[in-house]
Symmetry: C2
Subunit: 343 residues, 2 copies
Amino acid sequence: MATAENKQVVLKRYVEGAPKVTDMEMKIGKIELKAPKGSGAFLVKNLYLSCDPYMRGRMRNFHGSYIPPFLPAQPIEGFGVAKVLDSDNPNFKPGDFISGITGWEEYSLIHDTSQLRKIQPDDSIPLSYHVGLLGMPGFTAYVGFYEICSPEKGEHVFVSAASGAVGQLVGQLAKLHGCYVVGSAGSSQKVDLLKNKLGFDEAFNYKEEADLDAALKRYFPQGIDIYFDNVGGDMLDAALLNMRDHGRIAVCGMVSLHSFSDPNGIHNLFCLVPKRIKMQGFLQSDYLHKFPLFLEHVTENYKQGKIVYIEDMNEGLENAPAAFVGLFSGKNIGKQVICVARE
Amino acid sequence: MATAENKQVVLKRYVEGAPKVTDMEMKIGKIELKAPKGSGAFLVKNLYLSCDPYMRGRMRNFHGSYIPPFLPAQPIEGFGVAKVLDSDNPNFKPGDFISGITGWEEYSLIHDTSQLRKIQPDDSIPLSYHVGLLGMPGFTAYVGFYEICSPEKGEHVFVSAASGAVGQLVGQLAKLHGCYVVGSAGSSQKVDLLKNKLGFDEAFNYKEEADLDAALKRYFPQGIDIYFDNVGGDMLDAALLNMRDHGRIAVCGMVSLHSFSDPNGIHNLFCLVPKRIKMQGFLQSDYLHKFPLFLEHVTENYKQGKIVYIEDMNEGLENAPAAFVGLFSGKNIGKQVICVARE
């Protein structure tokens, strides 16, 4: 029976404030590259791992949420793309590629196949896109835009964290739908990508705007119909002032609220009544029955060159902690991915 | 041609903070008790006038809302019940009773008949109910509960400002719908009315609760499905922490936000995402096509004794400013109405 070294990223301790690289550490374990008989599990080699903002919630010692916390001294878990090496599950065979929840380690023994699916490698689509464009973040964009925002052609759409894993697809879906789309991001390089690569009508660097309300008034002189909110905080407050009657706000990640209590508070909710605004939080996992439709829509548009996707690829598992922490300072440009192995 | 004295309540100046009695003043004008030929208008004698929180918005010098501000030195406008004395409009005849927007004065000449309707006096229903139970506040309760909250039998419903013009009907509709209903109010007398007259399952005095979160956890150990929010502010923040998955928040008046910018801010919007909460502002005027259904439903239940309604009746136009100002300190018990004349 083959036994291998297994590099792992483990959570050292529960995190209160912003996560730091030192909240995680590398360990080297050993693993049998075999799925135990009768376990129903399968053994995978992890190829690509996904850094997603929601994971910060699992680093807290809080059990009341929709997903339990990580266990200290255990490998971090997250979405990934992996290749099956050995299997005791008849639905997964050696050589299969899968996308779903796996461990931040070189090899994982997978028992839980909920939210896990087999993927067909396709030369025209990078494998890593299955944790981005064609994975949870892409599906979040799709669900949030179509199911929560009820978009109409010609409507005015604002996307925050617009060059991120979710935002970049929201903007492109909105453009394909015939909307006017403006994105905000945190650097001139990101703004440039939004305008010149991702096809947004306009984009701005929120860090250069002393007055977010004034910035939104400049780009939306007639107001915003749809705000796809990836950040919460001051940007949400400014957007509320600029919503049109019957506007919709899809509340997605709220990176700035991942402090779990907005320190400044939101002051402009009084706008909800006179403007009849609907504000709705959502989780992509409630809509998995729509996943096949999503895959078809996005894959087709990608192959026709109508959708592009920007990844921030980090080589090597040892760079995973820094890549993850960088999410919360906006260091990443595009979808933050870790390449553990190419195949 | 009969000319009469016409007592009026006029707005002295635009208001910034909380309205004070001295922001209004009594004037005595003169009016011809006749509708000018060719005007299409009609002349009414005002019987009952309604004090509603939204009117504070019209006391500000702000033109960007769904309804324009009052004009200084002119009579305040609001919902009322009136009797037609003379008419140049073929649809309204002397002796007709109407409910709709009129002036805070003894007699008004009415040009605008939008949101105005004829009412049939009915011995079993007080005329004044047409600005409360059967008027805008009642319809607000109906629309907010059925159209915005999508209630299901057995769900857990929380209503703030629960003994007010809107809240008292929300709670009763929810009980009729088979829900568990808890209300909050600002005095033990109101709490008593909620439990013993209005049929709420439970009620509490928010002024006696040092920790609103703890209070809600006491009454909703399994969480809140529907929050009908009449106040905003700290109560909204506490409710967010206690919502169940897929909860709905109907954002109605936000009396505490009638300061037009919440001073403390709302800190718990991070709950929207993991709990998939929908929060929606609304105006009853968007749903006027449902008004006949509402009237039928509420009238029938009232006549069967299944709905009751509490009014805080103030005698005399000269008491209108104090009655209105009292709304914002919670002085009223039930729907705040001014009786100008009994017929």
